[in-house]
Every structure is written in C-alpha cells, then in structure tokens.
Amino acid sequence: MIRQSRFRVFASLLALALVAPACSSDDDSSSSTAPPATNTGESPATSAGEPPATNAGASGGTLVFGASNDPRILDPALASDGESLRVATQIFEGLVTTKAGSTEIEPALATSWSANDEGTEWTFTVRTGVKFHDGTDFDAAAVCFNFDRWYNFTGPLQLNSGAYYWRVIFGGFAQNEPDSDAPETSLYKSCDAPSADTAVISLTAPSAAFLSGLVLPPFAIASPTALQDYEADKASVDGDGNPVPEGTFGTEHPIGTGPFKFEEWVPNDHLTIVRNDDYYGTPAILDSVIFRPITDNAARLQALQTGEIDGYDLVDPQDLETISSDSNLQLVERPSFNVGYVGFNQAIAPLDNLDVRKAIALGLNRQAVIDNVYSDSGQVPLEFMPPAVVGWTDEVTRYDYDLDAAKAALAASGLPLPVKIDFYYPSNVARPYMPDPQRIAEAFASDLDAVGFDVTLISQPWTPDYLDTTLSGNASVYLLGQTGDFGDPETFVGTFFRTNSPQWGFDDPELRQSLEDALRITDLDERAAAYVEINKTIMDILPGVPFAHSTSNLAFKSTVSGYVASPVTTESFATVSMSG
C-alpha cells in the first residue's frame, strides 16, 4: 500500500513536470521580452571612427553595458584591470583628463597648471565649489590627502597587484616594504595646499610622463572623508600573505566627484551607477548605467541582438560584419593605441644576425595579415608605437614587403638554406593587437618558408605559459604586443627598451640611456625630437617587426548615441543618450 501511494505521488509529479514546461513556453510566446532582431542587410552601418551624434537622443533611461568581466575593486588607486577602471572613470575624476577621443590633455578638477623651469614643482589651480558624492567639499587639501595616501601605502597595497599605476608613474613609496619589490626611488616628493584652490606637487626629478600619467583613473581624487570612514587602506595579510582588503570603500562606498554615483554592486551579476544630479559640469543624460559581466564574446553579441544589453566593448573582428549589416546595431571604432609585433630574441641564434632579422622583416606580408585577420580595422606600423603618440615618425628605416630583397638579405647572412627558426605564438587569447594569433603565425610562417626559412610553429597557452616563455627569453621568434596606458611614448618604447628585458636578448646601454634621458625632458618639442631619434635607432637595430596597430570596436544599439571612444579608453558615459 505504502509503495503504491508513493508511486502515485511520483507519477503525479511527473505529470506536473511534463505540463509545466509547455505552460511556460506558452507564456513566453505571448510576452514581449524583446523584439526579434531582424536583419534587413540593407541599412548602412554607422561609419567606423565617427562618433555618433552627441546628445541627440532623449534624456534619461538606463543603459545596460556588457562588460567582459566583473570589476576587481572600485578604489581606482588599487585598480589596474580594464573593467574596474571603466567603472571608476564614471565615478571619479582626476586633476587632468584627456580630450574626448584623443590623447590631448585637458583640465578636469584642476582648471590650470604650470611647472617651474626644472620641471620638479607643479602648481595646480583646482576648482572650487565642487562636492564629493558624500556631500563633503573638494579642495586642494583633498588633492594632497590623496597623493599622500598613495605615497604612504604600506604592506600588500604596495604590490603590483595593488597600487600598480603608482609604481609605473611614481616608482616607490615613502617606506618601501622589504617584500614589495617597488622601485627604490620615488618621483613623488610632497604635496602642499597653500590655499583651498592651489595644490603644489613637488617631484624629486623632472618627468614629462608625470602630467600624461595623471590622466589615468588611478590618480583620481577620492573623498578623504569616505576613504577614512570606509577604511580604504585597511588591508590585513592572511595566513598566506595575501592582501585582504577589509574596508568597504573599494566595494560598497567608492566616492568621487564624477558625473555618476555608485549605487550597488552584486558581484557576478551587475553593478549600477546613477546620475550625479549635483555635478558641477554638464550633467549626465542617462539616469543610470548598469554594467553586466558576460565573459563569452558570442554571448555578448547575442545579448545585444536580443536587446538584453545596449552595448559592449571588445567586439570580435569576426562579428564586425554581422553588426554592421544589422540596422538595429552600430559600431563605434576606437583609434589605435597598441602595437602587435614579431619579437626577436638576439640571444638565440640565428637572430643575432642582423641580415636574418632583415630577411624576416622584409619577408613578412604584413598588409595581407591586416586585410585577412583584422577585418580592415588595422594598419601596418612603421615602428613600435602608434601614430597618435608624440615622437612618432615616418623617417625610420622601412621594411616593406619585398620577397626578393628578403631572399637577398638571407643570402647575405651566409647561412646554409633553409635556415631553421622556431616561431612561437599563444593560444587561448585574443588581444586587440593580436585577434587570432594562430592565423597570424600561420600566415607569417608560410611567408617565411617562401623566403628560405624552415619554420617550426610552437603554440602555448597565453597565460602563464606563453608569457613566461617569451618574457623570460626562451622564445626566439614570437608574437607579442602592447596596449598603451597613457598618451606618452614611454608607455611603448620606454616599456620595451628602457630596461634590459630578457625577451629581446640584447643590451644596448646607449639606447637605454637615451630613453632614460628622454623621459626627463619637459619641453614637448624637444622631447618629440628625442623620441624620433630613438625610434630611428630602434628600427635600425631591428629588435622585432611591428606588424599591426589595430583599432578596436564597441557595439551599440542604433538607438544609443554620444559615446566617444578614446585611444586611451578614458571613456565617459556622461554624454551618452538613448532614444526610442
């Protein structure tokens, strides 16, 4: 009897189960979650590179943006990943910023600035009457509070996984922890606020990278009250020595002066910011922006097509066609701020031979790769930095594709043919400057085979294996690249060649010194001239062949307008609006 009744319950559950899905799909068909995305294929897409018309749409509304990941931390001083900085850019502001869509420096919280002749003392006139989101006043003292905070970071906050950008621009800290491995000296000396609207920042040495560095979101000014109340610097160290942020500033109370205020963050689900109605400048148009982490690229595109999100970054080149042929969608192209290169390790034969390097440089059909792999959203570089950066020149030695010249160079090397080389490329990765490493490597390998090389392709997972192999100097010929951090040549040629990195396998003290010197020139013209010479030297040494400056793309619904893409990705949602 008992068995029978148990079976009845089970059977009725089964019956219910069978009916339930049918019901729910009926419900769904009658609902209007999202209109089907029809693809007419007729309407022309917004032309790439042209920002959509500004502020044309209706005001208000909520924009849902598909992020590639969750942010790590909303305290900009401790952030270095793109998604954290994307959100921080909306909530916080620094002393200076870049003009929308370019690398040109513009006032933000500082209205003007000047440097002494030595370039070691910078006087900023800051805005008055500006309030932080918590209602406290912004003034010069708040600026100094922030600079002193960064300079006095202790413990795990000093790590590269903490104040990464401070280390990049300013070097060391007031008191370096023995384990932090931070640079010994610091560019930062002190900050004084003689009056409410004047902040004087003193440096230990002149640095032209200082001002271009200050446009970075990690140097945004946060509310001193909030930093203290929410214990932004409270980080203990757990049993394994891991930094453990204990305050809530970076997770629940990020408070700046920007056009948007933080509202809520449900990790792995969404993060919401809302318009700051008390903003001193032109207020944002949107009521709110919701960032939604979607790691899968195809899933982001589909979510845009279904209308679940209104836009996303890092469009796959293979999806460009789909988006541009859909009248409901549009692309916004971001100017190039990166370089992809074929690196040579001169410590490994035969790359020590300049003729071999020339043969490779001349033998790579880079334009064909740009055409085929980059879907036309890229250009062949002349040197290791994109044209947007000061010091770029077209007077470097050029290595245009020339099969005969490549064969001649290889013959001149005196090595018996075919010359064996190992060509490394990464798997499981797509970078803007390297959207499909395998296809690039295969195309280059067949180019080089035609020159007279015997190429062995070797592939490794991007991180950590591939980076480990290449950066530690164990790969002879390899694909790699760099996206710039801020509008300065230091972020490209300085990063590559100012220190003696094992990936290149050569040491040229003269080149290193000239990069060291150029870093300290404050006169802009003089500085540009120095980098022009450096770029010429580098392309004569030929430590590698830059093969692509790619442009990246964002995709939006066609009802979204006002998003201006920046080469340095300091992109504000304040000018964005939605219609319809």
């Binding site: 068995r3 969404h270 790691t295 899933a299």
Partner: protein, 334 residues
C-alpha cells in the same frame, strides 16, 4: 539509517583529505603560477618573485599544504587571488546559481526522460522505439555548447521569446536572501521577478538537461524491458491482474532502481558546474568560476572550489543510497 548516514559521513573525511592533497599537488604541478598570471604582460622575474613571496608561494609545498589545511579546518577557505573575494563568499553567491540550474535541468531530464523510456519500452523494436533511440543518441552526442548556441539563436535572437543571458533582468529589483532567485522571488512575493527568473532558467536548463534526459530515457527503457520479463510479472499477469496495474505496481517501481542511480550520479555531475553552458549563458555559477581559475592559476579558488564540490558529491551519493532504501524495501542500510 541514521547510523548508516553517520558512518558514510565519517568515511568521507579520509576521502576529502585525499582529494585536498591531490588538488593541492595538481594545482602546484600546473606550469606557470598565479604570480605570472596575475602580472600578465607586465611580469618581470623580480615582480613574480615578489608576488610569490607575498602569497607564500615560495615556501616548501608541504608547509603551504599544512597551513592551508589548518585554515580549512576552521572553515576559512582563503581568498581568490584574482577577484580578492573570500572563497566562502563566492560559494554563497555561485553555488545556489549552479544548484538552481542543475535542479531545473534534472527536473526537465526526469520529467521527459522517464516517460520517453517507458513509451520506448512498451513499443520495443517498433518505429517509436527506433525514433527514440536515434533521438537519444543525438542528445548524448551533441556538444552541449552547440545545442546551447542553437537554442539561444532560435528562441532568444530570432523569436525573442526567452532571454539569452544571466539569471534575472538586471533592471528588476530583487532582495537576494538565499541567492536561489526563484526562491527569493517567492519569499519576496515578487511575481514579476519569479516569472523572469523562470524564463531565464528555460534555455540553460534544456541545454544542460539534454544529455541526462537521453541517458535516463535509455536506462529506463532497458530497465523496464528487463523487469517485464521477470517471473513475478508473469505471475502477476497469470493471477489475472490487468497489464496497466502490473505495470504500475510491479514494473515501474522495480525499473526505477537503476534510474535512481543514474539520476543521482548525473545530479552530482551537474552540481559540479556546467562549464560551457554556464559560460554561454553568462550564468554566474561554479562552472565558469573554476574554469577561469584554471586559466588564471587561482590556487585558492581551485582548492576551495574543488573541495566543496567533492563534499557535495559525497552528500549526493549518500542521498542516492538513502533513496535506494526508500524505493526498495529489500535494501537495508547498515
């Protein structure tokens, strides 16, 4: 029964210690390390060494293991090296998401699989049986992510009936007490959120449930066919019982035994997270988390996450065994 459960739980302790050792050794054997992954393109050997020092990764592996286990014993699973969030917090967020998806997928698989199996058995070696066989083979062999993409393309992109990503419309407000969103919506008496959460479940559950569905259908068919030839069934028929009553009272309950095992095992599998399905549907569960952790060499997540999954597996298996006893009175648990 209680003694049995306790005994099995105690037996789980050495299993867990063994697994923790294996996972620990395995994560350390992966090439590269978290420092390299964390620093990425910016890694210099000196920076890598500094990070390793800071995370205690430069100490002997046995020392690292000892420290780890002593903290685990106090319920502290450490922090993710990449997201900086506590593993226990992440588990609280993610495990309910995975459970919700797994149970929905299983619900779909059982609800459709058992009737399909029974029908196929009743019509064994006839057209309907062959069709069901081909369907099952397709279900088993089609890659889940491919099916997921097709389902999304058809029902979300083209028809616009169902959402394609996530667990809830981000514009909907819902207090998350349990992080089982369906449950939270019911607790909060939020009808809109409930409907929305259920809609979000449909596509991933169907995609994920297809393989278990096919397996359950085949096992049910075989089991039913086998039981139908047993002596007691013939006896029952000979006693004059109608075929329907024989089926209901004797065939199905006996045939359900192997099916229960399969359901249990499959549930365990689903609970460990469906990597591809979760990624394709941007479902913030265990699968994507652990998958990411492998790529980023996030030791803390791998150790904590896998240990947790093993615990879940042990518990699910225990429940399956108890389930046996409930269905089959011949089984006595000791």
């Amino acid at each position: 029964m209680l003694r049995f459960a306790l005994k099995r739980l105690l037996l789980a302790v050495p299993v867990l210690i063994g697994v923790s050792l294996l996972v620990f050794a395995w994560t350390r054997a992966l090439p590269g390390g978290p420092a390299q992954a964390l620093l990425g393109e910016r890694a210099t050997p000196a920076a890598v060494a500094a990070v390793e020092r800071n995370y205690g990764l430069d100490r002997p592996i046995l020392v690292q293991y000892g420290k780890y286990m002593s903290r685990v014993a106090t319920g502290d699973l450490g922090r993710s090296i990449t997201s900086r969030r506590a593993i226990t917090t992440e588990l609280k967020d993610r495990f309910p998401a995975t459970v919700e998806l797994a149970l929905s997928a299983m619900f779909f698989a059982v609800a459709a699989g058992i009737p399909l199996g029974v029908v196929a058995a009743k019509h064994a070696r006839k057209a309907i049986d062959h069709i069901s066989l081909v369907g099952s083979l397709l279900g088993i062999s089609m890659p889940v992510f491919f099916l997921a993409l097709i389902l999304k393309w058809a029902f979300a992109v083209k028809l616009g009936w169902l959402p394609s990503i996530g667990r809830l419309d981000v514009k909907l407000k819902l207090d998350r007490h349990t992080n089982f969103l369906v449950l939270d919506a019911i607790i909060g008496r939020n009808g809109t959120a409930l409907v929305d959460a259920l809609k979000h479940l449909v596509l991933p559950a169907v995609a994920l449930g297809t393989i278990p569905l096919a397996i359950i259908a085949r096992i049910t068919r075989t089991a039913v066919l086998e039981v139908m030839t047993e002596d007691f069934v013939r006896t029952a028929r000979a006693k004059g019982m109608s075929q329907r009553i024989v089926n209901r009272r004797h065939v199905l309950p006996n045939a359900l035994l192997p099916v229960t095992t399969v359901i249990g095992l499959q549930t365990g599998l689903l609970l460990s997270g469906a990597i591809l399905t979760e990624t394709v549907f941007a479902w913030g569960g265990m699968g994507t988390w652990i998958f990411d952790a492998v790529a980023k060499r996030d030791y803390a997540v791998l150790q904590g996450g896998i240990l947790f999954i093993v615990i879940v597996f042990v518990i699910v298996n225990l429940l399956v065994d108890i389930g046996y006893a409930l269905i089959d009175p011949r089984i006595r648990l000791r």
